[in-house]
């Protein structure tokens, strides 16, 4: 019963906003805040109930091989919670940040559509339905990237639209290949029928999906659109894109498809490992030379996605725990860093690190939380980034891949170096800045403090008792590959 509501609520809110839109921006803000709060509560509730059993829901009351089904298992629930937390803080941050742009209500309508798309992608059990929700999220994202209305923003949005359309075409082709081979679009039915067919089909489909969703994930050879799109968008949208969109549309679908549908073929796991480690190193090398703060953060997204792919490629339960844990942690600290960059840009009118200085007096909350986020992303204890990276490195050594462990360690050290640069030039430089262009309001500060606290609190997920209760059901969905099929078909 709660499953369709998780998609209906944001969709309804989006069109209510356009319906009453026009000059009433306050109504749009209130509706958005109301919707994201409800979604946060519902996501937490749904994650708690999926700990016991997987929920399925038949759209239009059609049974499973014919209709579209929604599936809420622990992995989906986990993604939902992640999306809900980041969208809640983003909406909170937007209240005051978006005021300086015009026509707020358009922004909030697109924001809710973005949320609809992501919630749909993580809940659907039908591969074409997934494609449709993915397009909803992407088109909302194109609009939001261009929302500022400057030439460079249009250029970034156009680049994003071209790359997004190319990857969508590849994915659509993959779906067509699957449909012609298995006569079904339901993921659990595909998982059932695919092993009975010629195994070259798995290679075909896997290759197409790897390229298509690889582009959405922005793993290394497919990364070119990400730095432009993520640095040009308004700060709360950068955090939505970097924090959750590349995970919901990219990493989540890769997990669901390659582990639960294709049954984790060896070849593709090796591909995950190789792409992941290349992403870690090249991403961080590209990041370290950047002076534009948001661009630096965008390159780090590529590098951190590399860690997640590395963990997935190792495929031991410990490594997958590390990957899922790192995915959650990355959503928290990367969003927080984008909020920091956004509030610096709003307050000083620039995000070039060369023009910044000592901000700890005029922006105490921003510089304080940016310190926490920088320590988290660089992997310094006791913050969450340390534990997830540690788990991935230990898993790499345990599974007999010391080279990949070394790559992860080197990547982490370079991350530390580049964030020392951010702290040194951006927040604790010599030049003491006294004047601000705009004030950083309470709602922006509140959003940053929420995430900073969560950066510390989520470290607790590593503690044995808590880990078994919260993370193990999620990891089990990924490691017990065919379990998904039985659970979905079982009712």
């Amino acid at each position: 019963m709660i499953l369709p509501l998780l998609i209906i609520v944001p969709l309804l809110t989006a069109f209510l906003i356009t319906f009453i839109g026009g000059k009433k921006d306050t109504a749009a803000v209130i509706l958005t805040l109301f919707a994201v709060t409800i979604l946060l509560c519902m996501s937490l509730y749904s994650f708690i109930i999926t700990g016991a059993q997987t929920q399925t829901y038949q759209m239009s009351a059609w049974a499973i091989p014919y209709g579209i089904s929604l599936v809420l298992d622990p992995l989906s629930g986990f993604m939902m919670v992640m999306i809900a937390i980041i969208s809640f803080t983003s909406a909170l941050f937007s209240i005051q940040y978006i005021r300086h742009l015009q026509q707020d209500w358009k922004y909030y309508a697109l924001f809710m559509l973005l949320l609809t798309g992501m919630n749909g992608v993580v809940m659907t059990g039908d591969i074409f339905n997934l494609f449709v929700f993915m397009e909803i999220a992407l088109f909302a994202a194109f609009g939001l990237v261009a929302f500022g209305g400057k030439a460079e923003e249009y250029e970034a949005a156009f680049k994003y639209a071209v790359m997004g359309s190319v990857s969508s075409t590849i994915i659509l082709f993959g779906i067509a290949v699957i449909y012609s081979a298995t006569s079904s679009l339901t993921m659990s039915v595909i998982a059932q029928r695919l092993p009975l067919l010629d195994q070259k089909m798995v290679l075909w489909v896997g290759g197409l999906f790897m390229a298509g969703f690889g582009l959405k994930t922005a793993a290394m050879p497919f990364h070119a659109w990400l730095p432009d799109a993520h640095s040009s968008a308004p700060a709360p949208i950068s955090s939505m894109l970097s924090g959750v969109l590349i995970k919901a549309l990219g990493v989540y679908v890769l997990i669901r498809f390659f582990f639960n549908v294709l049954g984790a073929p060896r070849l593709f796991l090796t591909l995950f490992l190789v792409l992941g480690s290349i992403s870690i190193l090249v991403g961080v090398f590209l990041a370290i030379g950047q002076w534009d703060m948001k661009r630096l953060l965008a390159y780090h997204s590529i590098s951190q996605i590399g860690y997640i792919l590395l963990g997935l490629g190792l495929a031991s339960p410990l490594a997958i725990f590390g990957a899922v844990f790192h995915m959650f942690n990355h959503a928290l600290f990367k969003s927080l860093l984008f909020y920091n960059a956004g509030s610096v840009e709003l307050a000083l009118g620039t995000r070039n690190l060369k023009h910044l200085g000592n901000l700890s007096r005029i922006l105490p909350v921003t510089s304080g939380t940016s310190m926490i986020a920088s320590l988290s992303i660089s992997g310094i204890p006791p913050f969450n980034g340390f534990f997830s990276k540690l788990v991935i490195i230990i898993a790499a050594i345990k599974t007999g891949h010391p080279v990949y462990a070394l790559v992860a360690v080197v990547g982490s050290l370079l991350t530390l170096a580049s964030f020392m640069k951010v702290q040194r030039y951006g927040f604790h430089g010599e030049k003491i800045i006294e004047k601000t262009v705009n004030k950083v309001g309470w709602s922006m500060n509140l959003a940053m403090i929420c995430l900073a606290v969560l950066c510390l609190v989520t470290s607790a997920l590593i503690i044995p008792g808590i880990r078994e209760a919260i993370m193990d059901p999620v990891v089990n969905v990924i490691t017990q590959k065919s379990q998904y099929l039985h659970v979905v078909m079982g009712r």
Binding site: M1, P4, L12, F15, Q58, M59, S60, A61
Partner: protein
């Protein structure tokens, strides 16, 4: 300014006659969506094309007066809300979102197939308004640019 006042008298006269036929054909496709090929999307596109025909033949200014653009915008977002409402009623009457809860009737009759014709009409309105407004906004954008020059 002359370019904004549309095309020649011949085109205007033909458009004046044909536009209602095109709209009628669009309505036919929408209403028979559950019986014959086509449906809300196809019919909606035909209706949008009828409006675009007027926009091309008579120009931006006349079309803006002939059609009430704010009303079209309300219809565009309102139709989506109606679609959601029909879907949500499915939860209350038949236990599932978008479930077909109206009596189905007999095959090949105009009033049959439960909620499907209703949803086709809603989709038809949505598609017609969306497609027309997209072109309308893009056309307005071009005029503003010309004025700047």
């Amino acid at each position: 300014m002359k370019s904004h006042d549309g095309m020649t008298l011949i085109v205007k006269t033909v458009t004046r006659l044909s536009v209602w036929l095109i709209i009628l054909y669009g309505l036919y496709i929408i209403l028979h969506g559950h019986l014959t090929p086509g449906g809300g999307f196809g019919g909606g596109v035909v209706i949008a094309l009828a409006f675009l025909n007027v926009l091309l033949a008579f120009g931006h200014k006349f079309t803006g007066e002939w059609l009430k653009i704010p009303l079209l915008e309300k219809l565009e977002s309102g139709s989506t809300l109606l679609f959601m409402l029909v879907g949500l009623l499915g939860i209350f009457y038949a236990g599932s979102f978008l479930a077909n809860y109206i009596i189905k009737g007999s095959l090949y009759h105009l009033f049959s197939a439960g909620t499907i014709p209703l949803l086709n009409i809603i989709i038809g309105v949505k598609v017609a308004m969306s497609l027309f407004l997209v072109v309308w906004v893009m056309a307005a954008f071009k005029i503003e640019e010309e004025e700047e020059q």
